[in-house]
């Protein structure tokens, strides 16, 4: 790791202020992704602001019947919360499908959303990668890209977002609360947090520099079934090839795009009376194959249809 200075944030306001005022500053929460990347010098912050002990570790009932999940809650804490388990089971299912118990004990809700891709070319610093080193090219485009994006990719980047939790949160129509360096808070749909790669895959979210995620807000649980399913190359502790979250009438897809993917076309088709298979076909009309990842289109169509059917109790 490159040398860096370290401070422990006292409160959210001073954390965002320090982040804005210190060159090369980064927030450090659980550290499970950032430190992994710092060891490889994929991330080279000069200053770490440890936000892990900020008083953002609570899960509170919201007045509208939803839940407010502090950004520093651990993944384990959220998955094990009795309210989440009974009212948002898709969220628990998604969280426990990711990482390992050790990682989930340390990883935070905010950090999980901001974790970076597992693309092998991003991780190998001897290879070109526009996300790691803007302008260097994309090693994956013509490489061994079996697990690359099938939706919303660009010629600059075909990486996917690896989070399981975020897929469920998108299906639950979650919103994000943040604090900006100027002290202003804002709230917006989680769907609007992440960006597609376009020409600037190194810019992964719409957060402004120094902006800190402080909470995730869940609306009251939707009517109808919830279910998360993930496909991967081994039974546990592995990145996904594809995942699907269903929450009532909403559907989201994971590991298929640069962001957790809200399957709006599928939802529209379902509400118009289409079958789960037809709905997934509608969603994946826009899907495209790059090299070796074509199977993910088929896989996602099948997984999506089966998961929707199971969540909704539709016999196929």
């Amino acid at each position: 790791m490159r040398p860096f200075t370290y401070e422990r944030a006292r409160d959210p306001q001073s954390a965002v202020k320090a982040a804005a005022e210190t060159a090369g500053a980064r927030f450090l929460a659980g550290g499970t992704n950032l430190l992994d990347l710092m060891k490889l010098e994929i991330e080279t912050p000069q200053h770490l602001i440890d936000v892990g002990r900020l008083p953002l570790g609570q899960i509170e009932d919201a007045p509208d019947g939803g839940l407010k999940i502090g950004a520093m809650t651990s993944n384990t804490q959220v998955a094990a919360d009795a309210r989440v388990r009974s009212r948002y089971p898709v969220l628990t299912q998604a969280i426990v499908a990711g990482g390992s118990p050790q990682l989930r004990n340390k990883a935070t809700t905010g950090g999980n959303l901001l974790q970076r891709t597992r693309c092998a070319y991003f991780y190998d610093t001897s290879k070109p990668c526009n996300k790691r080193q803007p302008g260097s090219g994309c090693g994956a485009l013509e490489g061994l890209n079996r697990n690359a994006a099938i939706l919303g990719a660009s010629h600059a980047c075909i990486a996917t977002h690896p989070s399981d939790m975020a897929v469920a949160l998108v299906a639950l129509d979650a919103r994000v609360e943040t604090l900006a360096p100027d002290g202003d808070g804002r709230e917006f749909p989680l769907m609007e947090l992440h960006r597609l790669p376009g020409e600037t895959p190194e810019v992964e979210t719409h957060l402004i520099p120094g902006e800190l995620i402080t909470a995730i807000v869940l609306p009251p649980p939707p009517d109808g079934g919830q279910l998360y399913r993930k496909v991967r190359d081994r039974a546990s502790y592995a990145a996904g090839l594809s995942s699907v979250a269903v929450a009532g009438d909403r559907v989201a897809l994971g590991m298929v795009a640069h962001k957790p993917w809200r399957a709006a076309e599928a939802e529209a088709a379902l509400s118009a009376g289409a079958s789960p298979d037809e709905a997934m076909a509608a969603e994946l009309e826009a899907a495209s194959e790059t090299g070796r990842n074509g199977f993910k289109i088929t896989l996602t169509a099948r997984l999506g249809a089966a998961t929707i059917a199971e969540a909704k109790g539709i016999r196929r």
């Binding site: 790791m1 040398p3 860096f4 200075t5 370290y6 422990r8 450090l28 550290g31 499970t32 430190l35 992994d36 060891k39 770490l48 440890d50 892990g52 384990t76 998955a79 094990a80 009795a82 388990r85 009974s86 089971p89 628990t92 299912q93 426990v96 499908a97 990482g99 390992s100 118990p101 050790q102 990682l103 004990n105 340390k106 039974a235 546990s236 502790y237």
Partner: protein
């Protein structure tokens, strides 16, 4: 940076490079080499220790993040003369071969029993609102963050069941 960590019940005052991971602080500074470095990236679980009772990958944590924390390593569970029931169960069931992943497995297994007791769900938990039962399937899923390349997996499941009985 000055950091104070309670390790296996003893308060240790350390002056560390901020880059020093909790794992390297234990191994290189405190000479507690029971926690192993298998991958240094949270991909194997050999470095698993308990921090304030929770299992984490000590390789993916800076030591300075743990100022004031209580850390339990394999050395804090038992010694060759006085084995912890989980250590004894691993020995009895031959739940290891080369032994390199073993301290991490045992720390993980000790935490697993508490997590099941607390009713925390896993991917193997079918009924998320019901009681969690210590089935083989639950053990397998919950131990999947600890890779054993010698592949003592069946023996590890047996050891955890044995220890759970001994501790019950």
């Amino acid at each position: 940076m000055k950091t104070t960590i309670t390790v296996n019940g003893a308060t240790r005052a350390l002056d560390l490079d901020p880059r020093t991971t909790l794992l390297d602080a234990l191994r290189e500074h405190l000479h507690l080499t029971g926690s192993k470095k298998g991958c240094d990236h949270g991909q194997c679980g050999a470095c698993t220790v308990l921090v304030n009772g929770l299992r984490i990958n000590s390789c993916l944590s800076l030591a300075v993040m743990h100022d004031g924390d209580e850390v339990t390593t394999i050395e804090g569970l038992g010694s060759p003369e006085t084995l912890h029931p989980m250590q004894q169960a691993f020995l009895t069931e031959d739940a290891f071969q080369c032994g390199y992943c073993t301290p991490g497995q045992i720390c993980s297994a000790v935490a697993l029993l508490r997590e099941v007791e607390a009713g925390w769900p896993s991917q193997a938990t079918a009924d998320l609102t019901g009681k969690v039962v210590l089935s083989d399937e639950e053990i397998r899923e919950r131990m999947s963050g600890n890779i054993c390349r010698c592949s003592a997996y069946p023996q590890i499941v047996a050891a955890i069941k044995r220890a759970a009985e001994a501790l019950a």
